[in-house]
């Protein structure tokens, strides 16, 4: 099955073209990070910074209206949401996998269906409830909404992982004198660790990137996505080099996470779509 040389050339050309198309917009914005302001908005645009500089980081931090604290808000909110989502999903996944109770299957299907409800449809009542009950503009308020965005899928994902672990292993631990909880923590949990990692990464990056809910439900404790949006809005004439720098700081953690844990990203991405 050896393809013709011409087909090989066509294949690689198409793949490289798509890769360039994928990288181009991000590269264009992020390269502005290392250009002096004059060059970023200069004409003609330069593909590689002609006078590479790091001053934009200082400018962004000290001499612009960009709220640096928004990154801290984002970290706190995303980590909180990840803990809540993964924690709840671990408990529920374990419960669905190991215990038989009335309505178990019905609840499982219901969770799958609920996952299909877009938060766009409930953003108005959420805003109203949050305003009336003091959750508006709190980090905790955002954490729990973000956790809900991923908890259903993570429950299914982790149930799947626990299902693959034979009950006999846990029972052996029980006979050796472990309690039910110890058996779970010491035996099943380590085996399910890749699943837990995939769930946590999925929850984190979905929370880190979210914009619409954050814009609606916060005003002062806003995460970086909202801050970036406001930053563009406030400057009629956009300062592209500062904007590029702010975006650079925002997406680098996720890109690092992504490059280390690409395998788990894909589990979270494809796993949710094709369920039995």
């Amino acid at each position: 099955m050896n393809p013709k040389l011409s087909w090989k050339i066509v294949t690689y050309t198409l793949l490289i073209l798509w890769a360039l198309f994928t990288v181009m917009p991000l590269y264009w914005l992020l390269s502005a990070t290392f250009k002096p302001p004059g060059e970023a908005i200069g004409y003609p645009p330069t593909l590689v910074p002609r006078h590479p500089t790091l001053r934009n980081f200082g400018d962004l931090l000290f001499r612009s209206k960009f709220g640096f604290k928004s990154y801290l808000n984002s970290i706190e909110i995303a980590v909180g949401a990840t803990l809540i989502s993964t924690g709840c999903a671990m408990l529920a996944g374990f419960g669905f996998s190991r215990f038989r109770f009335p309505l178990r299957n019905q609840i499982l299907v219901l969770i799958l269906l609920i996952q299909m409800i877009p938060l766009l449809a409930v953003i108005i009542p959420l805003y109203r409830l949050y305003s009336l009950y003091g959750l508006y503009d709190t980090r905790f308020g955002l954490m729990i909404v973000y956790a809900v965005r991923t908890v259903s899928m993570n429950t299914w994902l982790l149930k799947g992982y626990f299902d693959t672990i034979p009950v006999e292993i846990e029972e052996a631990a029980l006979i050796d004198g472990c309690s039910r909880l110890q058996a779970f923590l010491r035996v099943s949990f380590p085996i399910a660790a890749p699943g837990v990692a995939a769930a946590a990464i999925f929850a984190f990056f979905r929370s880190w990137n979210e914009f619409m809910i954050a814009m609606t439900l916060t005003s002062t404790v806003r995460p970086y996505t909202v801050e970036l949006y406001r930053f563009v809005g406030e400057h009629g004439d956009v300062d592209w080099s500062l904007l590029g720098t702010a975006s650079f700081i925002a997406i680098v953690p996720v890109l690092l996470l992504f490059s280390f844990f690409q395998k788990y990203f894909v589990i979270g991405l494809a796993g949710g779509a094709v369920k039995e």
């Binding site: 393809p3 294949t11 690689y12 198409l14 793949l15 798509w18 890769a19 994928t22 181009m24 917009p25 991000l26 264009w28 914005l29 003609p44 645009p45 709840c88 408990l91 529920a92 419960g95 669905f96 038989r100 109770f101 269906l113 609920i114 299909m116 877009p118 766009l120 449809a121 409930v122 108005i124 009542p125 959420l126 805003y127 409830l129 305003s131 009336l132 729990i144 956790a147 908890v151 429950t155 990056f205 880190w208 990137n209 914009f211 619409m212 996505t225 949006y229 592209w240 904007l243 590029g244 975006s247 997406i251 996720v254 992504f258 990203f265 894909v266 991405l269 779509a273 094709v274 039995e276």
Partner: protein, 300 residues
């Protein structure tokens, strides 16, 4: 008997935190959304509400600026159709290309292709605004290099704005279709291709009679999922055009947001939310049917 009830109780206790979270943040507000769509509630006085029946729906349907049936729905349809055609087409195409046995650097290509899915929609929107920027953007710079004198305004151009948004969204969403289709292709055992080759099938025939039938269920599911995702997609359009110019990109998600949070009519916004829910419900039913067919087909 006592042990049995303890097991049942433990099961319920374990799923309780997840379920209460889902109930508080999703189910209860969902019921509220339906109720709110029948009330008049102003953003300025949230606790005051008066029952108005179906008036909100009537207002939405007869709204001018933008008109629901002549502007919002067509814009939504245009955006969704263009996006899913591009995303599925390129996603499947790239998955097929990368999945050929002899291709080198598979992992690198896959990592790059997934990048746009990992990036926040806001950064994405800013990147594309920078590309389309009439004076400083790359696109117009390239056009100048090629000798063009009449430069387009891209996002400011009434006829170009939607294609521009669709390109940005295809750029973003192809990553998902690519990953899903790769999973589909990898589920096909390699022996099938070998058997087909032994039987004398050419490359085109192998694609037509081996690959296509087996990835078809994945394609259908892919279609439904990205339709839903795109109908509900708000961030990109809001940050790139905010529905403009002249409502050309006022899709239903942005329309909802404007009604509720710009004009301050929460009830009217909730009515749009219910309409969006109905669209989603129909797509979900379709998805479940297709998924059942896929599972049944695999078991055969």
């Amino acid at each position: 008997m006592r042990k049995q009830s303890r097991i049942i109780l433990s099961g319920y206790l374990l799923i309780l935190p997840a379920l209460s979270l889902i109930f508080l943040i999703l189910i209860y507000p969902l019921i509220q959304a339906v109720l709110l769509s029948l009330q008049e509630v102003k953003l300025a006085s949230l606790s005051r509400q008066t029952f108005v029946g179906l008036k909100n729906y009537l207002t939405v349907f007869t709204f001018v600026g933008p008109s629901f049936f002549r502007q919002v729905l067509p814009a939504t349809f245009y955006f969704v159709a263009g996006s899913i055609a591009g995303q599925l087409g390129f996603g499947l195409g790239m998955a097929l290309l990368v999945n050929q046995k002899w291709v080198r650097g598979k992992d690198i290509f896959r990592a790059i292709f997934i990048l746009p899915w990992v990036t926040s929609a806001i950064v994405m929107a800013i990147s594309w605004r920078f590309m389309y920027e009439p004076r400083l953007g790359v696109l117009n710079h390239l056009l100048v290099l090629m000798g063009a004198t009449n430069l387009p305004g891209w996002l400011n151009d009434l006829n170009l704005v939607m294609p521009c948004l669709i390109i940005a969204n295809v750029w973003h969403g192809t990553a998902f279709s690519f990953t899903l289709q790769t999973a589909g292709l990898q589920s096909i055992p390699y022996e099938l291709y070998e058997a087909a080759t032994v039987d004398g099938a050419a490359a085109g025939q192998r694609f037509r009679y081996v690959t296509l039938p087996l990835v078809r269920p994945f394609i259908m599911i892919n279609l439904v999922l990205i339709s839903m995702y795109t109908v509900n997609f708000f961030d990109l359009i809001y940050a790139m055009t905010n529905g403009g110019p002249l409502y050309r990109t006022e899709v239903i998600a942005v329309f909802l947001y404007h009604q509720a949070f710009e004009y301050g009519h929460m009830g009217r916004g909730a009515a749009v939310a219910v309409l969006i829910l109905i669209i989603n419900l129909l797509l979900t039913l379709l998805y479940m049917r297709l998924n059942r067919e896929r599972v049944a087909e695999q078991k055969r």
